[in-house]
């Protein structure tokens, strides 16, 4: 491995691509070629800012073809910081004899990049970003670290900020405590346009023209997200935040908040607040066996439960008709899935 490092390097240049879903889309088409298999991928990005979940989904895409993501070359300080926190090498020297056909851009160290772009770091959350450049010289070591920290890192990156004493190496039970504990994280919805209208239910659907669904990059992003699987009842005051999709086997009681970058699927009655696509993905959906959510939020869109349903108690029955909420014509609509 060590001696044939240069031959194993495969460079993917996505410097022209301008958005995260497009990167995933382009990357997945590149990765389909046989050359990319069993290689260490070096990803070249432009100005795009990627968050942790997006980089993780890129990683999982690459891992899917038995390759590893070894380094990222980026102009964005945010991407750089996240990548560093995941233990990836940022802006590393590209080997001269790599299989890359596109001429490589001149190498800039992380330090130089920061200075060049006058990066302000108001949130120094992730400790790993403080790794000295010397530590990054040994790629093998870094990559081993990723696999150990990956799960915990992408689960609750901000919770660590609130709960300083969280030990990274604690087991899964403690990890759940972080999710359900007082380290509640408000979704990043505060720049969003405030829309607080009642969501339409299936009875009113006749007047709504549903445009034909297209498979877009947003769909692809959702599919590439990691998924969290929770098998318990979510009660009032409990908060679940995940940078991916969430599947809950159980009811979600009023007063709980579920926030996901991707889809939210509840195998039970959903009565709390659900926010799908909280990072802005408008193709995200909320599904439940019985939809009674106090509020439904998808990307920047809000809707509240119709007042008529406010006092309706949901009785447990043997048969439910599953429902799905999604954005149609800039409105959140709840569909009954009968077929």
């Amino acid at each position: 491995m060590e001696q044939c490092l240069d031959d194993n390097m495969y460079v993917v240049d996505l410097g022209e691509v301008n958005s995260a879903p497009e990167i995933i889309f382009e990357l997945s088409s590149v990765l389909e070629t046989a050359e990319a298999k069993n290689k260490r991928i070096c990803l070249k990005l432009g100005d795009v800012s990627l968050n942790q979940a997006q980089i993780l989904s890129i990683k999982s895409l690459i891992n899917g073809i038995d390759s590893t993501l070894s380094s990222i070359d980026t102009k964005s300080a945010e991407t750089e910081k996240v990548a560093l926190s995941l233990g990836l090498i940022v802006s590393n020297v590209l080997p001269e004899n790599s299989t890359d056909t596109v001429p490589a851009e001149p190498y800039k160290s992380a330090e130089e990049l920061k200075e060049e772009q006058n990066v302000q770091d108001p949130y120094e959350i992730v400790e790993e970003s403080d790794i000295a450049p010397d530590d990054l010289q040994n790629p093998e070591q870094e990559i081993v670290e990723i696999s150990e920290n990956q799960v915990q890192d992408n689960t609750e990156p901000q919770a660590d900020e609130n709960q300083e004493n969280v030990n990274e190496n604690e087991n899964v039970k403690d990890e759940l405590d972080v999710i359900f504990g007082s380290g509640a994280i408000q979704p990043n919805i505060f720049d969003a346009e405030f829309k607080n209208e009642e969501y339409s239910t299936n009875e009113e659907l006749e007047d709504i023209v549903v445009p034909e669904e297209e498979y877009t990059k947003e769909d692809m992003e959702i599919e590439a997200f990691p998924t969290k699987y929770i098998k318990q009842t979510i009660r009032s005051g409990q908060v679940i935040n995940y940078e991916g999709n969430i599947v809950i086997i159980g009811d979600c009681h009023p007063g709980c908040e579920i926030t996901a970058f991707g889809d939210i699927t509840v195998w039970g009655v959903l009565s709390g607040i659900a926010h799908a696509g909280s990072a802005g993905n408008q193709k995200a959906r909320v599904r439940a066996l019985k939809m009674n959510a106090i509020q439904l939020r998808i990307a920047n869109f809000y809707s509240r439960r119709p007042d008529a349903l406010n006092t309706v108690y949901i009785e447990k029955t043997d048969s439910y008709t599953p429902e799905e909420a999604r954005i149609v014509n800039d409105e959140i609509v709840v569909f009954k899935i009968n077929d």
Binding site: Q186, N196, G237, P254, E257, R304, N310, T311
Partner: protein, 273 residues
């Protein structure tokens, strides 16, 4: 214009602080005053439920304190009464999220624009209580004619007297059952007043309508027939400085179920004739 900040507190849980807040607030707003209800029971909020505003809350008190939104954004307007606003508590946090100074800042801001700021206090005498009374200059102590509630009210009154900002406090005696007082099974209103040596601002009779109004998310003052509703409207008028005689809650018995009420009315009419 400087509004009045009134904290509604009790010490003991379940005596009707939140119901009182919702009803007095609604009654004041109906009389044309601008009112803000502030729920400080963070983590166990109920005020939104009583007003039927649960599905409208996006931003909460904690969001205001942590400067994620402006104060105006967090005020939820009532469905029926545009004079009435709610500043809801966060459900997913705990009492330590808001400090006394922070709440005082918020009530001071609200004072400028609203006539009345009613602060719904959490049960207990811990941090939540200290936070809730921080910005207030007046207090309403809710109690029921039970020894446990009266003892707790006594403790609360002691703390209110020791608190710096509170200039005056009044007693509100809730869930009074005239029948039981008659048969000497319940402390009378006078007994409670004597034990606590504190003036009263209202006496609210026990009313089964409270339960239905809570479940429907509509304060009982909107129900003109309800005796408890009338009593709350009177409390609101007294807060406003009017001299209103106390309701004679002894007379009708419309709180013992529909059938009994009907029969007793018939019986009473028979006796009068």
């Amino acid at each position: 214009m400087a509004g009045r900040v009134i904290v509604i507190t009790s010490g003991k849980g379940g005596v009707g602080k939140t119901t009182t807040s919702a009803n007095i607030g609604t009654a004041l707003a109906k009389n044309g005053h601008s009112v803000v209800l502030v729920d400080t029971d963070i983590g166990l909020r109920n005020l939104d439920l009583l007003l039927g505003l649960e599905n409208r809350i996006v931003y909460t008190l904690v969001d205001v304190v942590e400067e994620r939104c402006k104060l105006k954004q967090a005020l939820v307007k009532d469905k029926k009464n545009p004079n009435l606003c709610l500043l809801a508590a966060a459900q997913t946090r705990d009492k330590s999220s808001v400090s006394a100074e922070q709440l005082k800042k918020i009530t001071d801001k609200l004072k400028k624009d609203y006539d009345f700021i009613l602060v719904d206090c959490p049960a207990g005498i811990e941090q939540g209580f200290q936070t809730a009374i921080a910005g207030a200059s007046e207090a309403i102590v809710v109690t029921t004619p039970e020894m446990s509630a009266v003892r707790d009210a006594d403790r609360i009154i002691g703390l209110l007297e020791a608190a710096e900002g509170i200039e005056s406090y009044k007693l509100l005696i809730n869930r009074v059952r005239p029948n039981m007082i008659k048969s000497n099974d319940m402390m009378s209103v006078e007994d409670v007043e004597n034990i606590l040596s504190c003036g009263k601002i209202g006496v609210i009779p026990e009313d089964t309508g409270i339960i239905t109004s809570t479940n429907r998310g509509e304060p009982i003052v909107n129900d003109e027939k309800s005796l408890a509703g009338k009593a709350y409207i009177n409390v609101a008028r007294r807060i406003n400085g009017e001299d209103v005689p106390f309701l004679d809650i002894d007379e009708p018995k419309d709180f013992v179920g529909k059938l009994k009420k009907f029969l007793s009315k018939l019986g009473k009419q028979g006796k009068e004739q």
